[in-house]
Symmetry: D2
């Protein structure tokens, strides 16, 4: 892999998210950042600042032609993911791409298949999957500590950048769907989805969205995404038969509260019983999720294995989003979700 086994990297896109990729790539010893590429090269230079030895360029061709670039991280608008990522894969580069993987399921599938055919890493920047919170949830839920998942309720009210071509579901729900993907056991997955939306400010697209996702075990997960309030709320309640988790991402001192409480029903007696126990807030290491994500990107390339959030994970998120859009058009009926095999365990 060239000089000293360090992976040469280029970041494509110097907009909202690109600077975060630049900063975290520079802090990852296994990566060597060579380019920041943006059509607006002055913007790329401003992001790099006056003290940097990294090159700014407006030419994607130049980047892809450089044999010292082994991988690219793409932070351009969703509509451009297909051509940019495809060009990179065809040039033999590993690809990290912002969510959503592509503008639709078909395009996403093309990227997945291309990467698989060429033996290249295709990874989604599902940032939340790399937070300490989600990694802890993944461990305890897949480890069985919560018991059966009975419901999930997520509220994500977030300052959004309203755009005429993407609705709030496509903008914010990928966070929740990628979290579900990361934390649920292998045998529990979305099977059908119903969506409601509203546009009280006349933006032309839904600014308030509700997703009801029925899982394969019968449980309902609900996601409320919302652009219309600068008051940020990011809470998720995960109810299990053994424990209940309340996740408040706005409370860094106590993001996760795990209640050792459950509800049982004894079939003979037709009676519900509640157990009441202590609450535990696990000690979580506060670190930047993007740094963990960058390390996983590098490791998956070096170890020639699928990353935790691989292209198929991105495809599964796309499948739910497409079903949600169809449900929205059809007035909220449940629409089945296309299944994508091959979950990384």
């Amino acid at each position: 892999m060239g000089n000293q086994d360090v992976i040469g990297l280029a970041v494509i896109g110097a907009g909202y998210w690109g600077p975060n990729l630049v900063r975290n790539a520079q802090a990852t010893p296994e990566l060597h950042l060579r380019y920041l590429c943006d059509l607006d090269v002055e913007k790329a230079q401003r992001v790099l600042g006056q003290y940097s030895t990294v090159r700014a360029t407006a030419s994607l061709d130049e980047v892809l032609a450089d044999p010292d670039v082994h991988a690219v991280a793409i932070a351009t608008p969703a509509a451009t993911h297909l051509p940019v990522a495809l060009a990179a894969l065809e040039a033999g580069k590993h690809v990290l791409v912002e969510k959503p993987l592509a503008a639709n399921f078909e395009d996403g599938l093309k990227l997945v298949e291309t990467a698989e055919q060429r033996g290249l890493t295709l990874m989604l920047d599902h940032t939340f999957a790399y937070t300490s919170s989600v990694q802890h949830l993944r461990k305890i839920i897949r480890g069985g500590e919560l018991g059966d998942i009975q419901y999930i309720d997520s509220v994500r009210i977030n300052l959004g950048l309203v755009q005429p071509d993407v609705d709030v579901l496509w903008d914010l729900a990928p966070h929740d769907l990628s979290i579900f993907e990361a934390i649920l056991p292998d045998d529990v997955h979305p099977v059908e989805v119903a969506a409601h939306g509203s546009d009280p400010i006349g933006a032309g697209v839904a600014c308030v969205g509700h997703l009801t996702v029925r899982l394969s075990n019968g449980a309902i997960t609900h996601v409320h995404v919302n652009w219309l309030s600068p008051t940020k709320i990011r809470t998720m309640v995960i109810g299990g038969s053994q424990r209940t988790v309340v996740w408040d991402d706005n409370n860094p001192a106590q993001r996760l509260s795990i209640y050792d409480r459950g509800v049982d029903k004894s079939p003979e007696q037709q009676k519900i019983s509640y157990r009441t126990g202590d609450m535990v807030a696990p000690a979580l290491v506060e670190r930047e999720a993007l740094r963990t994500m960058m390390a996983e990107f590098a490791a998956s390339i070096t170890e020639k294995r699928a990353p935790l959030t691989d292209g198929r994970a991105g495809l599964r998120v796309l499948a739910v989003l497409e079903a949600a859009s169809e449900s929205l058009r059809a007035g909220g009926v449940f629409v089945p979700v296309q299944q994508v095999e091959g979950k990384v365990s």
Copy 2:
């Protein structure tokens, strides 16, 4: 009205809620509690305790025949509301009844019509409507301080007493629906409702429920009710074009947080702008809502006027519940809500 204009009262039902009515009736100077009536007279006596001069009885007939009883407060199971309330109204007694008003819309309508024909007060114990929080919200929302209501999101996760004949929607959603009834402007009301439910513990009825209520102004309100967690959550987010309210009823020191923040769209520019301002937590008087409710019951009788939560308010809540049940049976499609005129302003 007999002796010194004090209203003679009987409480019917000494179960879960009855003792609260007994205690608050005794603390209301305009009322004189004469009976606590329950088929299990020993239970009634235990509720009254050994220091009380109030009479326990098992006979509803005895209560209704007593001319010094001018009003009854009914805290019996929902299925019995129709016969008990009807008997009381026909005996010329004013009636306060637990939510829901009756087991179905038709029964509820019969009670409303009977009370109106006889000129008697029929009042719902929509307790939340008498909390300081709801009264403050009612004032600022109907007064226009929030601007247009853009969305409401309510989460009510509560220890429930699972019963085979009532699902979680009928048990808990009346709280949210009666709150909407109390706080929304006169020209904003539910027009259609979609409902989803699940029963992950095999209780025979939905234990997790999601209501999506579309209001007449196009806004979506969403209610998540849930019996399956002993971890109590009672939050409501109310988004307005001028302000956003976060109501956390588990935080007595700061139940209401009113953010002076809004979102605007200038049609020409297709651009969204956010305003960011301070948050105000209004000083609310902590007092027992039931006491305020009892005072309103007494006042509506004395002043011969409809109480804030009159029979028609109860009927409107029933209309949404019936539409929700129909949607649940039909797989979650939107079902129109029967309209009931005559909202008390």
Copy 3:
């Protein structure tokens, strides 16, 4: 003990606290409330209400002469505790008395000795000692789970009723001192105290007070009591070598947060090491502390044993308060605390 082994009780004082004693005495099956006694008999009657069979009286003599009264609960001003309690003890009645035990150490000692000579229960209404929070703290601290107590920091900012003859230390600090008494191990007790105070509103007595109490193990406990803010704060941080507790009494959903974190020093290496572990919020039963206190009063009488908060506990609190007052007069120097033997384990 008369009829059916039930303890006949009279409450003396119908002011601020008396009604709480009346209510909780009535809810305690082992007690039978016979009188509420107040010089203002109409006030006593108002407290009892119109539905009660309990007698109101203005005559302490009448109460003490009644052989069916076996015990009295005294909620009169501190200056009257000596004569009222002494009269009761001399009439052979068991005594429950509001904190502080008496207006000074000498008077308190007289009550303790009188009760002990006559074999009567003398109990302090140290209400906090009967909360679930303090009972949990008592269990884990005396059980060694926190390790060595290294510091305690208490802030009690409370709406106070400023009175010209009692300063904020005598009004509020008894709560903290009685909590220390309840939770500290038998071999850890106050040995000296320094006090500072200020009176920024010219009330004539200290309205802001700081107590620094040095314990027998060398640790410092600090208490900040304050009348000058209607914003109530009641937090206590208890640092142990194994765990740290943060107690926020204004947060009923999570009063106690117990951090499994400690600090160690290895003497050879002159190095400090920190352990970081999870936080546990124990499930506490929410019940009225006064009810538990009343049950303990009844049990101590029936079982002829010292109650948890006996007269000597009250005397130890008085000893710290007197030393604090002396320190305050002397400009804040440390003043030794008079020791009182005989702690109830």
Copy 4:
């Protein structure tokens, strides 16, 4: 000032704090970072990373001899502040120095006088003074919105790096003292201080400290600093005659809660009255305080004026610390604080 009026800067010290200065200096357009200087040049190089054009050096002489270096930012141990800062001032460089200004008042005074004689900026990195919270408090307290300051109570429990030559008072209390310096009106300042400390782990210095600072208006401020818990607490309550502020720095969503509540005493009536009003949490811009601090450093150099946290502010903090140490040695008696004129308004 050389090339394009940009101020050439060197950071001295690549330890705990230096990297923060490096990062924020690079983000400040008015500054040009030329060197990071540390005796351990490899450490300096590691801090700069592999993408930087800034020079690492081990030679302070080289830095001070470079005419393109106009200013230095010193983040070395307190004991070295005098020689390093003095050398820089004597070389004609402006100086930014970590708190505390020097190891004792006398050394600090020497630095202040040298800077003043040479017309150079001497600035303290009192970081908290540049947070949005303190700047808001400064505005409303000095603007009179709180009324008279009646008390301040600060708790700062913080993971500390225990060192045998600095106690917890000198390590942590400078934060509180510099905050008081920033927010108090010009005519309210510390006049005497009493200090208590304890060392429950045998570290050789006080690990738990209590400062009681009497202000010139008679109010008491109290500071509890503590190394012995990894559970971080940073709360400050500021009581005014018109409003009370609760500052919880661990709650980024609501750091400041300003209660429109007060307490009054009408002298004739000997009565206290409480006003209860709303609470306001002001919208604060979240930005890194160090960036604002760097901008103030640059501006004070360019505009040839004293910065907000000038040498004299640092000297006033030293004066309180010295009095505290003396009180600690003398068993907690009040010790007068040496006054330093010339507060920046």
